[in-house]
Symmetry: C2
Subunit: 156 residues, 2 copies
DNA sequence: GGACATGACGTTACTTTATAACATCGTGCC
DNA sequence: GGCACGATGTTATAAAGTAACGTCATGTCC
């Protein structure tokens, strides 16, 4: 993600789509869950559960328990509104909830952004490789570490 | 991996190759590191650092510290002798050390085995997808969850 | 509208995974 | 032999995640 974009729009947009999707599915996007989703979306960088917890506690004044956040995250992941980045133990908002999720990410070592992509070639190649070995794919995970365009151009 | 194979051979083989590679590189495969490598290879299932630690402590009688194991694992991963499975927080022996590692795994939810593959189509697809977005790949991670052939045939 | 079922949230305690900081040991090199 | 450097030991602590159980809210059924 470019450093220059109207991120407020990203957040608002994500929340709107989440509301719509949950309403459609009869899933309960409670105030807490909405709040956690908002905090996950506070950047395009994957955020740890405890970072979110801290935000939550600061805003409310009262300290929330880890489980509070983990449960909300679990719900959001189940609904496909948030993805977990395994290699970072962190969570990031889904760019396109509702669509099929192949769970592919370009994770920048420079700025920390995780760009979600859905490249059919990658998905196809994984399916083919698995099929040849008689392996039934349930959940592919692709997390590519490297440097995003902007960080290559502006190294630190 | 099939449940029926001469696993002793796998271990011996892995150790032999590790010795050779380290000698070639001037890397020091100490007794401890060799030991940890052996324990990682005790199955084709990824093993957690603390599981290895436990084995180590049991065999030696004296309790080793976590850092002992983590440092050995760090060395082994650096040398490409062991891979870390991010989605499991666990480590597994590398099937083909010395070769280029694309870090692709088929992780079975049934038996827990992690089969390392190196499918050029997957690597190529990732490279292409990244290149189109101006992303410079440093370390791709592919961890596919699913069911291996044997577990599909013999469900529990 | 009240009893009930179900799911969401709170609380406490705990487990698992991982690292920091610093001391000591061991091996090779000159 | 003494030095340098990397490997290992030790202690303490951080970070990430879960179990068990209780309470509260929401909606449903009669």
């Amino acid at each position: 993600m470019s450093a220059l974009h109207d991120h407020t729009h990203c957040i608002a947009d994500a929340l709107t789509r989440a509301e719509a999707l949950c309403a459609e599915r009869g899933a309960r996007l409670t105030a807490l869950r909405r709040r956690v989703l908002e905090l996950v979306w506070s950047s395009h960088r994957p955020r740890g559960a405890y970072a979110i917890l801290e935000d939550l506690s600061q805003q409310d004044g009262k300290a929330a328990a880890p489980l509070t956040v983990y449960r909300a995250l679990e719900f959001l992941v189940e609904q496909g509104l948030v993805h977990r980045i395994e290699s970072l133990n962190a969570y990031v908002g889904c760019a396109d909830p509702g669509a099929v999720h192949s769970g592919q990410f370009l994770v920048c070592e420079g700025c920390g952004d995780a760009a979600e992509i859905d490249d059919p070639r990658v998905g196809t190649a994984i399916d083919a490789a698995a099929a040849e070995r008689g392996f039934r794919v349930q959940r592919p995970t692709v997390e590519v570490r490297g440097l995003c365009k902007s960080c290559q151009e502006n190294p630190r």
